[in-house]
């Protein structure tokens, strides 16, 4: 360390009071922070820009890079979106996906809240192991379960029905939500519950009137997570649903819109874009909850 840097030390220390390190300043800061950050943002968001711009491009522009600048649209059109909405089952797929995701989320949240409460608050012999089992359940990926699950779904007579998805999605939603909620319940002071108990509240009253309202941000983020994970799910929906009109958006866009040799890129991109918007909107409203809960779950 040079003397110059040493002289600057008190100044640096002062800057750090908010807990964030200032690595550099001035033009150097531009090169080391803003430039790489901008590149990251551009690269991470480019596919969505490309998706959006393709969705509103007329075919003439789509396949002619010589006359038109591919990064821009000269004469935007809604034809691709119209075709998607009125000539395919897209609205039906959206509805199906929405229904499946909502029901699976509600079912999983209900089970997870109770399980997390039992594990974290009603300390019992072996609660630690139940917690561990749930964590391990989260590590079992759908890729190794879908084949036996398909035979099970078939035996239960659920093949090609929305119930096949509603009942199988909780296998990855419950472990995740429970794990998140355990962390959340932990952050709520136990004394609050003890006070209520001394006042004569039953355990259910405590859960319903004290713990749950306090855990609301955690519940919201677990709900958003569960909803988006269901929306995103692919392999079960691909394996268990056969009828075109019962498919979820991700599966349907890939299997129903891609037919034959000619890809309708405009409609495909419109389909991908419209399927992304609901979850993206949901997140944008709750991103702070989301980051807070992630921080909460990661922090000890």
């Amino acid at each position: 360390m040079t003397d110059h840097a040493a002289a600057e030390r008190p100044h640096l220390v002062e800057k750090e009071t908010s807990g964030v390190i200032d690595w550099s300043s001035g033009p150097r800061r531009f090169i080391t922070v803003y430039l790489p950050l901008s590149i990251f943002v551009i690269v991470l968001l480019f596919p969505f820009y490309w998706m959006a711009i393709t969705a509103i491009k007329p075919n003439a522009e789509l396949y002619d890079y010589k006359t038109y600048n591919p990064f821009w649209v000269s004469s935007p059109t809604l034809d691709n979106i119209k075709r998607l909405l009125f000539q395919t089952d897209y609205p039906q797929w959206l509805l199906t996906t929405m229904t499946v995701a909502t029901v699976a989320t509600v079912l999983s949240l209900f089970s997870s809240v109770l399980a997390a409460y039992a594990i974290q608050r009603l300390k019992f012999k072996g609660s630690q192991y139940v917690g561990l089992a749930i964590y391990l359940a989260y590590l079992v990926p759908p890729s190794i379960l879908f084949i036996p699950m398909a035979t099970l779904i078939f035996q239960l007579g659920l093949f090609d029905s929305q119930w096949a998805l509603i009942l199988t999605y909780p296998t990855f939603l419950i472990p995740f939500c429970t794990w998140l909620l355990i962390g959340y319940f932990k952050s709520i002071p136990y004394e609050l519950e003890e006070c209520a108990m001394i006042d004569g509240a039953t355990r259910l009253q405590i859960l319903w009137q004290i713990t749950l309202p306090l855990a609301l941000p955690g519940l919201i983020s677990a709900g958003i997570f569960a909803f988006t994970l269901s929306w995103n799910e692919f392999i079960y929906a691909l394996a268990f649903i056969q009828s075109a009109e019962k498919k979820t958006v991700p599966v349907a866009v890939l299997t129903q819109l891609v037919e034959g040799d000619v890809y309708h890129w405009g409609s495909l991109m419109a389909g991908a874009l419209l399927g992304s918007i609901p979850v993206a909107l949901l997140y944008s409203f709750f991103v702070d909850y989301y980051v807070a809960s992630l921080t909460g779950a990661v922090k000890e």
């Binding site: 943002v41 596919p47 079992v140 909780p170 259910l204 392999i235 866009v253 890939l254």
Partner: protein, 317 residues
């Protein structure tokens, strides 16, 4: 009070009886765990066991199979496509994980600076991770189009670095790298945000102390940031390895294992053989072959857990 008398009072006051039952701790614990346990046992534990059993049978769709021992596994060992899929899976997981963590850590460090519009930035950066994988995979499919790829356009027509368009998904190696790039792109936000959360838990006092001891930026990173980040890094790494290793969506959406089965991962091959191919037993055997790798990753995670008492430290309460 006799049992009969107690029965009578409970009969008269069903509400009270229910409340008391729910206030009984072991009963409440049982009821609380019941929904989650029932769903997980029926739809997770049972299929897991069934899958392992199926791997040792010659079950086909619509026909129950017989126990055939290790036959599925021995035939897979001589199956070129299977061997390729194992190598692809290892390559895909290895390269994508290293790239995701290097870039994700870099991004987390960048985001940990004083920045304007911090929460907007975080929201934007999360987008690739939020949007359904298959839908962004379809965008990549279009970006990788042999004739109309925007990457080729930039390289050939704008920058003039190449003379011909790249056939991203038509050649085995080009297709593999394209898939790895797409997976890395999708994984960076999760790694970055998780590590950012970790970075923010590091006490600034540690950096002050390090600086007073004369540590430079690299030494502060190496001796303060990195060790403090290690527990989170281990857990995020386990998740990342696990989910990259068992990835299905991205490959299925972009190449479906092609060209000529050269980009199959174990998961996509299991699907192809098991569901459209109808060979449930063989598909299950491929899926089961992933388990040893997953167990290794999980043990690694458990080690991290034990060290950190992650999410279950009883001594806090």
């Amino acid at each position: 009070m006799t049992i009969a008398a107690e029965a009578r009072t409970t009969h008269h006051l069903p509400q009270n009886w229910l409340v008391r039952l729910l206030d009984n701790k072991s009963c409440l614990i049982f009821l609380c765990l019941l929904p989650a346990a029932a769903l997980l046992l029926i739809f997770l534990t049972y299929p897991l066991g069934l899958g392992i059993w199926l791997a040792f049978t010659d079950t086909k769709i619509g026909r129950s199979g017989h126990f055939i021992g290790f036959e599925n596994f021995t035939s897979l060992m001589q199956d070129r496509v299977f061997i390729t899929s194992v190598w692809n899976t290892l390559l895909y997981t290895g390269v994508a994980t290293v790239a995701k963590f290097a870039l994700g850590l870099w991004l987390a460090l960048l985001l940990n600076n004083h920045l304007p519009f911090k929460s907007l930035l975080r929201a934007l950066i999360l987008v690739p991770w939020i949007v359904p994988t298959v839908l962004s995979a379809i965008a990549f499919w279009w970006i990788y189009d042999p004739q109309f790829s925007i990457i080729s356009y930039v390289l050939v027509d704008v920058l003039g670095w190449r003379t011909s368009y790249i056939d991203f998904l038509g050649e085995p190696w080009a297709a593999r790298w394209s898939l790895i790039a797409a997976n890395t792109w999708r994984g960076i936000p999760f790694v970055a945000i998780s590590l950012l959360a970790g970075l923010q838990t590091i006490s600034p006092a540690l950096y002050e102390a390090a600086m007073l001891d004369g540590a430079n930026a690299w030494q502060r990173f190496r001796h303060v940031t990195f060790p403090m980040l290690m527990p989170i890094l281990a857990v995020v790494l386990t998740f990342s390895v696990l989910f990259t290793f068992t990835d299905f969506q991205l490959v299925y959406a972009i190449t479906r294992g092609g060209p000529i089965n050269s980009t199959h991962l174990m998961a996509t091959l299991a699907f192809q053989r098991g569901i459209p191919g109808g060979q449930l037993g063989e598909g299950a055997a491929i899926a089961v072959a992933m388990i040893p790798f997953l167990v290794l990753a999980t043990l690694f995670s458990y080690y991290a857990l034990a060290r950190r008492k992650w999410q279950q430290g009883e001594d806090n309460d």
